[in-house]
């Protein structure tokens, strides 16, 4: 996982509540073997509509998604996180999130910013007024800023998650540092009895 200190770029206001992972990436995409390329499937049902906000030229290339409450509820498919990141999003800002989605995001380095609804509403207003305004998500100092509008708000992040983002650690990297502990556990644990079945 790449270290993330600051995400800066344009932000897209989604303005919908209860966006579940089925809406983020439909199930027909689960047959794919890649972790990349899911961006094309992101919100694919909605993207057929020319009026959908992601189809607006002024939001092209945005790296921050500003969403409604309970974003990412539903199935555990990590494909939802892959789709958002593959499309180019590096952070999602919303009043609340689905638990598993938040967990999956933290494993991939997608920054999850939970802010009070009024802050999200103000931010939405600011980027709708002028879509070219840059939004800054500062993971180091835990603030969201719109420098041009002189707007700044703090947000909270679990200390362990923040540390992992800043250092680019993933769970696997962290666990591998405990290799000795695992090896010593294995020494006392014996081996499986089905060795004869293993043919490769």
């Amino acid at each position: 996982m790449k270290a993330v200190h600051v995400v800066e770029g344009r932000a897209v206001p989604l303005e919908r509540a209860d966006v579940d992972t089925d809406q983020i990436i439909p199930s027909e995409w689960l047959k794919r073997v890649e972790r990349t390329g899911f961006g094309r499937g992101l919100f694919s049902e909605w993207r057929d509509d020319p009026a959908f906000v992601l189809n607006q030229a002024e939001y092209a290339g945005a790296s921050i998604l500003v969403a409604g409450p309970r974003f990412g509820t539903g199935s555990s498919r990590e494909h939802a996180v892959w789709a958002l990141m593959d499309y180019g999003f590096e952070a999602v800002i919303a009043p609340s999130f689905g638990d598993i989605f938040r967990n999956n995001s933290s494993k991939q380095g997608l920054v999850i910013v939970q802010m009070p609804p009024e802050d999200v509403a103000n931010l939405t207003r600011l980027v709708k007024e002028d879509p070219s305004r840059h939004v800054v998500v500062d993971v180091e100092n835990l603030v969201v800023e719109v420098p041009e509008a002189n707007w700044q708000r703090p947000f909270a992040l679990e200390a362990a998650t923040r540390e992992r983002l800043l250092n680019g650690w993933d769970d696997i990297g962290l666990t591998l540092r405990r290799d000795e502990e695992i090896t010593s556990y294995e020494r006392g644990h014996g081996n499986p009895s089905w060795a004869g079945l293993l043919t490769s």
Binding site: I100, N104, D171, E186, L197
Partner: protein, 464 residues
């Protein structure tokens, strides 16, 4: 104070340094084609290896066609996913039972039947029905793709301890009432979220009296009540089931192993965080009427009315009735079905097929019904054929197919068409689960077979 079975397995597998997140050691990691490709990719990207290929076993099940091997995989995306599993297992040294291999089958069928799933072990798989293996006294649960990668790389999982719930079933099931009817009653009682945050331990006379296969059916559906896992304590039924399986020791080594396995029971004075108690004599043949597995009605009953639902659930209730195209008050026995599916990790083992064949013998599938029998594994298929069950099914007009998940989730070509209604021995009746617009009713194998013959929901006793 005594410990529950869950606590015993947890204590034996937790690796926790001071101030560190607990890691749970994984004894057996089962892998299939759908949730693993990106995990293997992650290993490649970071130049990591599979830490314990000897504790990792893969099979192809979700996507495989259930036509004979000579029929190629028609969907190129599915074909690519199956190829990727071949390549990944080859590259990382993981044993794979691919399509056509004698050990191939649904991941939750082959683990127990090969003797890989053993008492007291921790078993994980990128699939929520991993709870099935809990029938053998193993702590078994489903994980996401990042966690699959984590287990491949480290043989451990970052875990927090769950709560425990005793699900006690007293008394005896009535003749003709199966483990499937029992677990549907349990899910109906708890609701889809009732087990959230908990690991179940099924206990009581009725559970002790179940065969190992019936216990697997029960543990399989723990997840439908929201539980992380379901467990059943080891007893002589467990030991006898494992004796002689390919993956377990033989001779005196087996006896020594069995003696250790007998310790995997909850202590008498162990305390559970919660308990529910059911009377087995109250359980009847059940059918789901709605779009979640807790929406259950007696086969002898009628489609329920929204007035019976809690106020905050009335809307969902009405939506389910509309999706299922059902009218409250209709006797369940009068509802015709288009498709009958006998299969899935819930009910595709030899006993399930025997129960269905007993009903099918000497009878014919109703002309309006398409009926499929999909054995859970090649071993199940071979056993059934040795017993002549395939001939009974074929003579009655059922299709006899190759093993796989098949119409349980419709990722392969076995799917319902929009508006079709099925009686299915699988575990999820979600909207579109068996095919876009399809309507699924969950039932036991005996009810599925009787329904195929009658053309509408029926119990074996209803047939002439």
């Amino acid at each position: 104070m005594g410990r529950t079975l869950y606590e015993k397995i947890w204590d034996e597998h937790v690796i926790a340094g001071v101030g560190e997140t607990p890691l749970l050691y994984v004894d057996l990691h089962l892998v299939h084609e759908v949730t693993s490709p990106q995990a293997f990719d992650g290993l490649r990207l970071n130049s990591r290896r599979v830490r314990r290929p000897d504790r990792t076993i893969a099979t192809a099940d979700h996507n495989v066609p259930t036509e004979p091997l000579s029929v190629p995989v028609a969907d190129p995306v599915s074909a690519r996913q199956l190829e990727a599993l071949d390549e990944n297992c080859d590259e990382f040294g993981v044993t794979l039972f691919p399509r056509g291999h004698e050990n191939q089958g649904i991941v939750h069928v082959i683990g127990p039947e090969l003797g890989l799933s053993q008492p007291g072990s921790v078993i994980v798989c990128g699939d929520s029905h991993t709870s099935t293996h809990g029938a053998l006294g193993a702590l078994a649960f489903g994980i996401g793709t990042s966690e699959v990668e984590h287990v491949l790389a480290t043989q451990t999982l970052v875990q927090q301890k769950a709560k425990t719930m005793a699900v006690t079933v007293n008394g005896a099931l009535r003749p003709g009432v199966s483990a499937k009817d029992l677990v549907l009653a349990i899910v109906a009682r708890l609701g889809t979220g009732g087990g959230a945050g908990h690991v179940f331990e099924y206990r009581g006379e009725a559970i002790r009296a179940l065969s190992m296969e019936g216990r697997m059916t029960v543990c399989n559906m723990s997840i439908e009540a929201g539980a992380r896992a379901g467990l059943i304590a080891v007893d002589e039924t467990t030991i006898e089931y494992l004796r002689g399986r390919p993956g377990v020791a033989a001779g005196s080594a087996f006896e020594a192993q069995a003696e250790r396995w007998r310790a995997y029971v909850s202590d008498d004075d162990a305390i559970f965080d919660a308990e529910i108690v059911l009377d087995a004599a109250d359980v009847v043949a059940n059918v789901t009427w709605g779009t979640n597995p807790a929406q259950v009605v007696a086969l002898s009953g009628t489609v329920p009315s929204p007035e019976e639902a809690r106020a905050d659930q009335r809307e969902a209730f009405e939506r389910a009735l509309a999706y299922m195209d059902l009218t409250p008050g209709t006797p369940v026995r009068e509802i015709p079905v288009d498709v009958v599916f006998i299969g899935s990790c819930t009910n595709s083992r030899i006993e399930d097929l025997r129960a269905a064949a007993k009903v099918a013998a000497g009878r014919s599938v109703a002309p309006s019904v398409r009926a499929l029998v999909v054995p859970g594994s090649h071993h199940v298929k071979a056993q059934a054929e040795a017993e002549g069950l395939d001939e009974i099914f074929l003579a009655a007009g059922f299709e006899w197919r190759e093993p796989g998940c098949s119409m349980c989730l419709g990722m392969n070509p076995d799917q319902l068409r929009p508006g079709q209604r099925s009686a299915s021995t699988s575990n999820r009746n979600f909207e579109g689960r068996q095919g876009r617009g399809g309507r699924t009713h969950l039932v036991s194998p005996a009810v599925a077979a009787a329904t195929a013959i009658a053309g509408h929901f029926a119990e074996p006793g209803d047939l002439s």
